[in-house]
Symmetry: C3
Subunit: 272 residues, 3 copies
C-alpha cells in the first residue's frame, strides 16, 4: 500500500523548496533526486517568496540558522501558507540554544505547518516551550523505548492535536501521528545515527511525499518507512572496511533503487 | 586533440576562485582537484579582490546567492576583468526568481565574461531578459532536441555575438559556441541529471581549462566533453544496488583517472 | 599507546562545536561521527555562546569566513576560554588575503588556543604576521623536507613557546609540538592532498581528541597519526577506477573502523 505513495512522487516529480542547513544540504538535494523529486535551495529574503511560489512545498530546517535565514523562513512560510502549499518544520537543535528554541516556537506561531519532524528531545522542547537538548542528538533520558511507548504515543497525539500538524518523531522507534492515529514504525538501523543528516534527508523527502500525495499522514509514514528501509538495505550491502561514509552513499543509493514492491514488503509498523 | 587541453590543466595546476553555492561546493572543490586544478572558495566582500588576484580565474555561480555574496561577485568580477583573468558565469536558477534574473543580468552588464554556462532555460532567460525557469532544471518546453537543433545553434551563436562570451548550454545535447563555430556535443548520460551539481562541477572545471589553455572555445569544449565522458565511464562502472550517490562519486573518480588518450578517443562532437 | 586516546574518544563521545567553512563541513561532521565524537555546527553570533557552553570544545576554522562568522568566532572563543574548554584554530588560507591574515592574528590575540593546526605556509604567516600563501595549499618554497627538518622543528617549538599553544603543522611530514617536544610524524599519503578538506577533518577530530583526553600534546599526536594512517589504509582499499571521491569516503570509513590495536601498530613517528 505505502509503495503507491512512492510511485506518486516518481510520477509527479514534486519541486521542493528547502531552506536548510549547510552541513547536510548536498545530501538533502541528492536524496530528493533519488526519490524522484526535484530540489531547490534558496534562503535570501528577497527571493524566497518567488522561489516558494513555483514549488509544491517548503522544507524549513533550522540547523545553522542565522538572522538572515530566519527572516527568510518566515517570509517563505507565510507565502506557502497563502498558496496552501505543504510546509514542514525540522527544528534541528531546538533546546540547544535560546535562539533555536525561540525561533522554532516563533515559526510555530507564525506559520501553519503540515508536519513537524524531529527527534524526541526537539519535539519535547517545542511542546514544553523550553528544553535541554544536548546538541543535535536526542537526550538519552528522552529516548522512546518499549517501556515508555504508551506515554510517548499519548504525548505525540496530544501535541498533534495542539498544533494541528502531523508530528513525526524519529529515533530507534519512529512515531508518526495526527491526533487520532499514531503509526509506530520499526524500520531503520541504529548505525544510521553515525551518519550526519539522515534526519534532514528525511525531512526533505517527507515534504516531497506530502506534495505528491493526498493523504498527508500516510504519505509521511511512507517516507519514514522508506528512509528506515533504505538504511536496512544499505547496511546489508556493507562490506569489510566500509564505514559511515560509504553507508551514507548506500542509503541514498537504496532510495534511488527503491520500488513499490520492495517498500510494500519491507515496511514494519503498527497503528495505535 | 582535446586531450592536450587536459594535459595543460594537469601541468599548470590553475588556481580557481569560486564564489559558488553551498549545495554543491564540496563537489566543485573535489572535481577541480580531480582534473588537476586547485580550488579556493571565498565570498566575503572584504577579501574577494585579494583572493581573486592570486588566482588564474573566477567562477561565479549564483545558486544560493544572497545580498552579501552578490556584492562579492561584482567586486571579484571587476577585479578579475582588470587583471585580465578568466571569468565564468553560471546563472543557476535565472528565471526562477526576479532576484536571480536581475542579478545575472546585472553581472552581465558590469562584468566581461569569457564564458557563460547554464541550461537552456537559464540562457534563454539571460537572452530575453526574463524567464520562466521551473526551479534549477531546464523547462521541458525549452529542451534542445534533434528537431530544434538548427534553431538552437543559431540562438546560441547570436547570444555569443551579443555578449562577446563563449556560450555553453548543457543538457542532453550540449552546445558550446562563439559567434562563428558551434560545437554540438553528444557525450554524457541522462542519469547525470539525477545527481545534484554536475553543472556546477562543470563550471568549476571549465574555468580551470580556460585558465590553463590558450584557445578558450576549444578549452571549454574539452571540459564539456570530459564531464560527459566521465558520466559515461562512471555509468559503466555501476553495479547492482548502486544509485545516484555512488554515481556522483564515480563521475569525480573518472575525472581523476581521465588521461589524454581516453579523452581523445571518447569525445563525440561535430562542429556547425 | 596512542590507541588509548582513540578509546577515550569513543567512550566519552565528546561534543564538538564547529565554526567552520561550508566547503568541507559535511566531511567534518561525518569524520567526527566516525571517530566516536558528536558534531554541532553553529555560527550565528546570537547563539554561539549557548552552543559552545553545552560542548566540550570549539573548532574554529576560517575557511569561507565572513564578517558575521568572524564575530561569532570571537564570541564563542572567549566563552570557551571562560569555561576552560578546548579551543582549536585552523587558519585556512592565512596569508592568502589580508582579511584572513588579520582575522587569524586577531583571534590569536583575543583567544587562548590549546592547538593551532595548519599547513606550513599558514603557520609561518601567523608567526611572521604576514604571508604569501598561494591559496589554501602550502607554498612549495615552504614545504618541510628531510633537508630543512631541523630548522622546521626549531621554528615550531619557538612558535609553540610564543603562543603557549600546541602547534600542529601537517603536510608530507607532520610536526606536532609544544615548546619542548616535537613529534615528527610520517603517516599519511601524498594523494590525500587531492581531496578537499582532510586538514579541516583533522582539525575537527583533533578537537575531539583533546576534549576526551588529559594529555593534550599526545592527544593531538594521536589524531594526526590516525588521520594519516586512515589515509594509508584507505589507499590500500583503492581499486581500479577509483579516484579522489572514493578515496575521500574510504578515509572516513577507515576512521570509522579504526581500533586501538590498528592505531598502535600503524603509527610512525619519532620525538625530537
Amino acid at each position: 500500500m505505502l509503495g503507491e505513495y512512492l510511485n506518486k512522487v516518481r510520477k509527479n516529480v514534486p519541486l521542493v523548496h528547502n531552506i536548510t542547513n549547510y552541513v547536510t544540504v548536498n545530501d538533502v538535494a541528492n536524496v530528493l533526486l533519488a526519490c524522484g523529486a526535484s530540489p531547490i535551495m534558496a534562503d535570501e529574503a528577497e527571493e524566497v517568496e518567488d522561489i516558494t511560489s513555483i514549488c509544491g512545498g517548503l522544507n524549513i530546517n533550522i540547523g545553522t540558522l542565522n538572522k538572515r535565514s530566519i527572516q527568510s523562513m518566515l517570509l517563505a512560510g507565510k507565502k506557502s501558507n497563502e498558496l496552501h502549499h505543504v510546509v514542514l518544520l525540522d527544528p534541528v537543535g531546538a533546546g540547544a540554544s535560546a535562539l533555536r528554541t525561540n525561533t522554532a516556537l516563533n515559526l510555530l506561531k507564525e506559520i501553519k505547518f503540515d508536519v513537524i519532524r524531529g527527534n524526541i528531545s526537539e519535539i519535547k522542547t517545542l511542546a514544553l516551550g523550553s528544553g535541554t537538548t544536548k546538541g543535535v542528538d536526542a537526550d538519552i533520558a528522552d529516548v522512546i523505548t518499549e517501556d515508555n511507548l504508551d506515554e510517548a504515543i499519548s504525548f505525540v497525539k496530544s501535541f498533534a492535536k495542539k498544533t494541528g500538524a502531523i508530528i513525526a518523531i524519529t529515533g530507534a522507534i519512529d512515531l508518526v501521528s495526527d491526533e487520532e492515529r499514531c503509526f509506530v514504525i520499526r524500520n531503520g538501523r541504529k548505525e544510521m545515527s553515525r551518519i550526519t543528516g539522515t534526519g534532514c534527508q528525511l525531512s526533505g523527502m517527507m515534504t516531497a511525499f506530502l506534495i505528491a500525495n493526498k493523504n498527508p499522514l500516510e504519505a509521511a509514514v511512507a517516507s519514514v518507512c522508506m528512509m528506515g528501509l533504505a538504511g536496512e538495505i544499505a547496511w546489508n550491502h556493507m562490506q569489510e572496511g566500509d564505514g559511515n561514509a560509504t553507508y551514507r552513499n548506500r542509503i541514498i543509493d537504496a532510495i534511488f533503487n527503491m520500488d513499490e514492491e520492495t517498500l510494500n514488503k519491507g515496511v514494519k509498523y503498527d497503528v495505535r
